[in-house]
């Protein structure tokens, strides 16, 4: 019983930490993208109705691409684990390896 509780506790901390990083991080990054897009579009997109700043659009694109990449990685990971593989981050960039 105690051993079980300790194991669950350890797992939960890890889930909370990584969950905060990805589960809260991605929507925040996405919202930075939306904000940057509005900054780029200007006018009716922002409550201040300032003229658009082109740099905003570039920044927005970067944010959205990173979000997409993380989600794509998530899907790859689900699919890979279906084939008995997993994603490894040993080389920093993700690679598909055997489990």
């Amino acid at each position: 019983m105690t051993q079980n509780l300790i194991l669950v506790g350890e797992a939960l901390w890890k889930i909370l930490a990584v969950g905060l990083l990805l589960g809260a991080g991605i929507p925040v990054l996405f919202s930075v993208g939306v904000r940057a897009m509005a900054f780029g579009a200007g006018g009716a997109a922002e409550t201040s109705h300032e003229p658009g700043h082109p740099i905003g659009k570039v920044l927005a694109a970067v944010c959205f691409v990173v979000c997409l990449a993380v989600v794509a990685m998530g899907i790859t990971w689900i699919v890979a684990s279906g084939f008995g593989k997993t994603l490894s981050f040993e080389d920093i960039y993700p690679t598909i390896v055997d489990k």
Partner: protein, 416 residues
């Protein structure tokens, strides 16, 4: 037709007929699992209008189908988490195999009936309760009835997270809290970032984010949940001597389970979608995306760690968190309270029905007659629930109606 227990001829044939009942009832459970959980992925996207209701359930159904086929990881030991009817390698306990395995088949069948009954009842009142917990509860009940309390695996052997305590009770209490924290933080930060952006602009952007995150949850759901039924059916096949390989699941089982869960998802449990999408909070696209991403991340991370959490508990916690995290938003705590009550009652209630069904089956000889009667009880109950649900139908057309406009909003979640 009825062969009494201990009869010299035909015990194997009897077991085969019971096996067919187990397969059909298991697939029915998988189907209820599908429509019970459509809401987890799609309720928030339907509520904010990111997806049309019909499109949402179709998308979720397809992704569940794909996900179910991807789950090749052997889920044969699914019952080991809570009861002792299988060995470590997934083969059934030999003492349960007398008479062509009908002792084990009756336990599994009674457990499945308990799970389905609870899923149907909670669907009727529009409560998102965990289908995995219903299955575990049903199996615990029928095992206790059949084998006594010693048949329950409470804690495992301490070498890994295991047993009713480790895999069911603690996760049930902690995972919604975890999801709520992550979604609260996400939602709060998102709203800090987007201040100053016109609402129409943010809503449009975040609808895309919602579709992406909801799709991820659907896919993960297919891989997680369809496996359980595959494991149960394969266990029945092994017990009755129709399959021997404990390393693999027959392809037809996989295909049927995938189709069952996907078509259930496509049917859409509109009552539950309504509660989760409209009942808890008035959800906006940024909140929807924050909630769904939090759910998706937690489900994937936890199953990566071999510690699968209930999709339902995680999603409900996330939606609550999205309500808490948005400045000025309110949560209908009364609705949340009803959900929490449903979570705590799922295991005992499904266990009670599972045990009752086993006793009825055993009283009738524990063979074919018993199995037939409890299957018929299930059929009768299903029809009764369907008829009752006609009184206040919820469907794609009224799923998004104003919650508070409903008469007695905190009691009946459905529009009349």
């Amino acid at each position: 037709m009825f062969t009494p227990r201990g009869c010299r001829f035909a015990p194997v044939e009897t077991a085969t007929v019971i096996l067919v009942l187990v397969v059909v009832v298991a697939l029915s459970f998988d189907f209820t699992n599908g429509f019970h959980d459509t809401a987890n992925a799609m309720a928030t996207s339907i509520a904010t209008g990111a997806l049309q209701p019909r499109t949402a359930v179709a998308l979720s159904g397809i992704l569940n189908l794909v996900g179910a086929f991807l789950s090749v990881e052997v889920a044969l030991t699914v019952t080991n988490a809570v009861v002792n009817i299988q060995n470590k390698d997934g083969s059934p306990k030999p003492e349960l195999l007398e008479g062509g395995g009908s002792a084990l088949l009756l336990i599994v069948l009674a457990g499945l009936v308990g799970a389905i009954v609870w899923n149907l009842l909670t669907w009727l009142v529009g409560l998102p309760s965990s289908s995995s917990h219903a299955l575990f509860g049903g199996l615990i009940g029928s095992t206790v009835a059949g084998l006594g309390w010693a048949g329950v695996n409470w804690n495992g052997d301490g070498s890994k997270i295991d047993g009713v305590v480790g895999k069911v009770i603690i996760p049930a209490i902690t995972s919604p809290v975890l999801a709520c924290i992550i979604a609260t933080v996400g939602t709060w930060l998102v709203h800090k970032v987007i201040t100053g952006v016109a609402q129409r602009f943010t809503d449009q952007g975040f609808r895309w984010g919602q579709i992406g995150s909801a799709s991820l949850v659907s896919l993960a759901h297919g891989t997680n949940d369809a496996q359980k039924t595959m494991g149960v059916i394969t266990l029945g096949l092994i017990a009755s001597g129709h399959w021997t390989n404990t390393e693999e699941i027959p392809f037809w089982v996989k295909a049927l389970c995938a189709i069952a869960i996907a078509s259930g998802t496509y049917l859409g449990g509109w009552r539950i979608i309504r509660t989760l999408g409209k009942g808890l909070i008035e959800i906006t696209p940024p909140q929807g995306m924050a909630a769904e991403t939090s759910s998706g991340a937690i489900i994937l991370i936890s199953s990566h760690m071999g510690f699968a959490l209930s999709t339902t508990h995680v999603t409900t916690g996330s939606v609550l968190g999205a309500g808490v995290g948005k400045p000025g938003a309110s949560v209908r705590w009364k609705v949340a309270g009803r959900m929490v009550i449903a979570w705590f009652t799922t295991i005992p209630a499904a266990a009670f029905v599972g045990a009752l069904m086993w006793w009825i089956g055993d009283l009738l000889g524990g063979g074919l007659l018993g199995a037939l009667v409890i299957s018929l009880i299930l059929l009768g109950f299903t029809i009764a629930v369907m008829v009752r649900s006609r009184k206040n139908p919820v469907h794609a057309g009224n799923v998004n109606d104003e919650w508070d406009a409903t008469e007695g909003a905190d009691r009946t979640p459905a529009a009349v």
